[in-house]
């Protein structure tokens, strides 16, 4: 986002006929209006250009988090079930140093807070893309609040903290990995100099025979399905049969219900047969088998959201899914036909 006043002033000057249009192509395109630019120009740069005025407290953020974020990220930002964890892996010494030691010392899952070098990036991303199933639904103050709560969970700010557009620079100065990035022109410039050099040796380039240091294990041949079904039926080669007696591909016809479950991303939280965040679809079907009123209750729960039936993590309301789709999915999971 750029200096708004200058841009607006220019536009008004243009509309007043004071400035000639830059058009090289007559009749193509039109000036963007100030309201249109404001609606789309939502990016926030590392120097906080584009950051709107506003504020939010840790307490407000916690309330939002528990309702809209915890189902994927866990109540403490620690969940590794759906997405990599947001919180974890940082120490007070990292905050002093500006570099996260565990990035070097351990091979554990890298969390967002271990990697995050720009608070602007976190703010910008929450505003444009979160929550996962309702992006851009948070107000500016809500984005400040959620950001404040994330900083609190990472033990960077106290529980009574309020984050706003004026003190966000202080938060940047506390990020554990704030000095964790460096440019490398060799791989960004059009004519950058490479960092790795090989030569085109043609004969006797290694002594003796090539030594294999890593090999796809025979015991894992079937991890990617039956490779025979991933290769053409004619030609110089065939795919290796990795699953004996596997069904021919394409013979499994997914029902409309399962297709809808996939379309609407339900498996983000509900596996077909395994628990992810919420119960598996199979166990829901089993619990309510033979229950005459279950279908209507489940349709209402999917629509309005709920918690307490299977655990404490709430299922968020599903406002964007057509009623018919919810009904088809509920009937399918109650049928147990999967």
């Amino acid at each position: 986002m750029y200096k708004w006043n200058r841009r607006a002033a220019f536009l008004f000057a243009l509309l007043a006929g004071a400035a000639a249009a830059q058009n090289h192509y007559s009749g193509v395109g039109r000036p963007a209006t100030p309201a249109e630019i404001a609606a789309w120009d939502i990016d926030v740069r590392a120097d906080f250009t584009g950051l709107p005025k506003g504020s939010g407290t840790v307490a407000q953020g916690q309330d939002l988090w528990d309702r809209k974020c915890a189902s994927c990220h866990g109540f403490f930002g620690e969940s590794n079930e759906v997405f990599p964890p947001v919180i974890g892996g940082t120490k007070p010494e990292d905050v002093k140093r500006g570099r996260v030691a565990s990035l070097v010392e351990s091979n554990d899952q890298r969390t967002t807070m271990m990697k995050l070098s720009r608070i602007s990036t976190l703010w910008d991303y929450i505003r444009r893309a979160m929550p996962w199933n309702e992006p851009k639904s948070l107000s500016v103050d809500e984005v400040y609040a959620v950001t404040a709560y994330i900083l609190n969970m990472a033990e960077l700010v106290p529980a009574d903290y309020t984050l706003n557009d004026r003190n966000i620079r202080d938060a940047q100065a506390k990020l554990p990995n704030r000095d964790g990035l460096r440019p490398f022109p060799g791989l960004s410039d059009v004519r950058g100099k490479p960092d790795v050099k090989n030569t085109a040796c043609m004969k006797d380039c290694i002594k003796g025979e090539a030594r294999i240091v890593s090999s796809y294990p025979a015991s894992a041949r079937d991890t990617h399905g039956n490779l025979a079904e991933q290769n053409r039926l004619v030609g110089p080669v065939r795919g290796v049969v990795t699953i004996a007696g596997a069904a021919k591909s394409g013979t499994v016809v997914a029902s409309a219900g399962s297709a809808l479950v996939r379309k609407h991303g339900c498996q983000l939280c509900h596996g077909i047969t395994s628990r992810v965040v919420g119960p598996s679809l199979r166990e829901i079907g089993q619990r309510y088998a033979g229950d005459v009123g279950a279908a209507a209750r489940l349709v209402a729960t999917v629509r309005a959201g709920g918690s307490g039936n299977w655990g404490n993590i709430p299922m968020p309301p599903q406002l964007a899914i057509a009623q018919g789709d919810i009904e088809s999915m509920v009937l399918w999971l109650l049928s147990g036909a999967f």
Binding site: A32, L116, T121, D124, L187, N198
Partner: protein, 480 residues
């Protein structure tokens, strides 16, 4: 012992092991000068029935339906040896595929326009985009890989183009789609698709490769086939207007403009920074792909094309271009698509896709049908320019021969290479090594690791090794 490799220039009748036109198959002689000691006896490999029969067919054979066995074996005739054919038919008159006229030669075919939009043959279903199990947990923020193991030439069929979405894909109505150009310009503007498609367009063939392609293999072998090692790679002819034309149209402030931000219209509204030197060089705002509009999964109706640069910068469903004087430090530039170095600091803005190649036939998870002639075929590409040369090794990198490059060899585009090889039944390790127009030679994995360690995830352009064992099975391996 490593399989022998033959020089170029053999005559047409020299292709060892390839069936000639009379329906009889000569058993290929053992090649002189190779190591008979470590090889299985001469003759065609006889695959177990599971290799070409379905489970149902096997069940029918087991149930004693001998006639069915014959039919099924004939259906798999490409891999058939003479003894097997004789077993099935008990006759030596010739190939039933010739002697018994098939239905398609004796009946009326389908009319024109039976399919308003044509589809591949029903026999080609095996070549499909696939996810790599366990790689991602959410299908809307995942990857599907292109089946490179079955593709020819350099153009990826649009329906097989790899996918990478950050928050799912949409099929956007082009009538309502808008592109806004703003920031350091004299006149911020809005363009409809109608507007854009009236501008002077160009068509260019370019590869697109995800920065994380081959990323699972930084530390060790992790996936079985070339679809999963290299399938975040595709190549198309893109049609659109150079971004420079739009920036000129808006009166870009060239004194201050250093970078542009590209933003998508999807839920993620994914954003990436593109430097002005690339914008002025060859960046396109594209709507066309391989003669038709972009596919929805690839950004319909509008995407950015940034030749030579990792795929995440080719923003799909493009809605906004903002001209600025600094990089924008977006999520995909701070938290992801950065290269973790051994000291724990991540390199930022490493978007060039360096020179790389891979043999696609034969490749991991395949098996050779028998000994003899093979056209070893693969792809080479470079984000810095054209492919100048590709060398192929059959002994794990000890000795190399230069492959044929099939034209055209275009800048920042896939190049197909081929080389003849006679497999003598001995073990072999196949590798390819590309050299681009800057003279850069594709590195070995050990050379990459010596500089960047093993935690980088992104930008792995190491030489790929495929091991062929005595049974003809090809396996993904890494050599020292």
């Amino acid at each position: 012992m490593i399989a022998s490799s033959r020089g170029r220039g053999m005559s047409e009748t020299d292709y060892k092991g390839v069936k000639h036109g009379n329906g009889r198959v000569a058993v290929p002689p053992v090649e002189a000068g190779t190591s008979a000691g470590t090889r299985p006896p001469a003759g065609r490999l006889r695959r177990a029935p599971e290799s070409f029969l379905s489970a149902q067919q096997i069940a029918e054979v087991q149930a004693g339906r001998r006639g069915f066995l014959r039919k099924a074996l004939v259906a798999a005739s490409a891999s058939l040896s003479v003894p097997a054919l004789a077993q099935g038919t008990g006759a030596h008159n010739g190939d039933p595929a010739i002697l018994e006229l098939p239905a398609h030669s004796r009946t009326l075919g389908l009319p024109v326009a039976e399919r308003g939009y044509g589809l591949p043959s029903q026999f080609e279903k095996n070549l499909a985009r696939r996810e790599s199990p366990g790689l991602t947990r959410v299908a809307a923020a995942s990857v599907s890989f292109a089946p490179l193991q079955g593709l020819f030439g350099i153009i990826t069929p649009s329906g097989l183009h790899f996918e990478r979405h950050h928050q799912g894909w949409h099929d956007i109505d082009p009538v309502g789609h808008r592109l806004m150009v703003m920031g350091l310009v004299k006149q911020p503007k809005v363009y409809t698709m109608d507007d854009l498609m009236r501008l002077p367009s160009v068509s260019r063939m370019h590869f697109i490769e995800c920065g994380a392609n081959t990323g699972m293999e930084w530390g060790n072998v992790a996936v079985p086939t070339v679809q999963y090692t290299h399938g975040m790679l595709s190549c198309s002819e893109f049609t659109g207007v150079p971004l420079k034309v739009l920036l000129d149209d808006c009166g870009v402030d060239m004194k201050r403009a250093r970078f542009v931000l590209a933003e998508g219209a999807d839920g993620a509204s994914l954003t990436r920074t593109i430097p002005m030197d690339r914008v002025l060089d060859d960046v396109l705002v594209a709507w066309g792909m391989n003669g038709e509009m972009l596919r929805p999964e690839n950004g319909y109706p509008l995407r950015l094309v940034v030749p030579g640069v990792q795929g995440v910068s080719w923003v799909k469903w493009l809605r906004r271009i903002e001209v600025g004087d600094q990089p924008f430090e977006t999520r995909e530039e701070v938290l992801h698509y950065v290269d973790m170095m051994p000291d724990g600091v991540a390199r930022q803005y490493t978007w060039t896709q360096e020179c790389k190649s891979v043999i696609t036939t034969p490749s991991g998870g395949q098996h050779l049908l028998d000994r003899g002639q093979y056209n070893v075929s693969g792809l080479a590409w470079s984000g810095r320019g054209r492919i100048r040369r590709v060398d192929v090794s059959f002994d794990g990198g000890r000795n190399w021969r230069t492959a044929r490059l099939e034209g055209p060899t275009l800048t920042k585009c896939l190049t197909r290479f081929n080389i003849d090889w006679v497999w003598d039944g001995g073990p072999a390790i196949l590798q390819s090594r590309a050299i681009d127009s800057t003279g850069y030679v594709q590195p070995r994995a050990a050379q990459l690791r010596a500089v960047r360690g093993t935690r980088s995830i992104y930008h792995n352009n190491a030489i790929q090794s495929w091991q062929v064992d005595a049974s003809g099975e090809v396996r993904n391996v890494q050599v020292e």
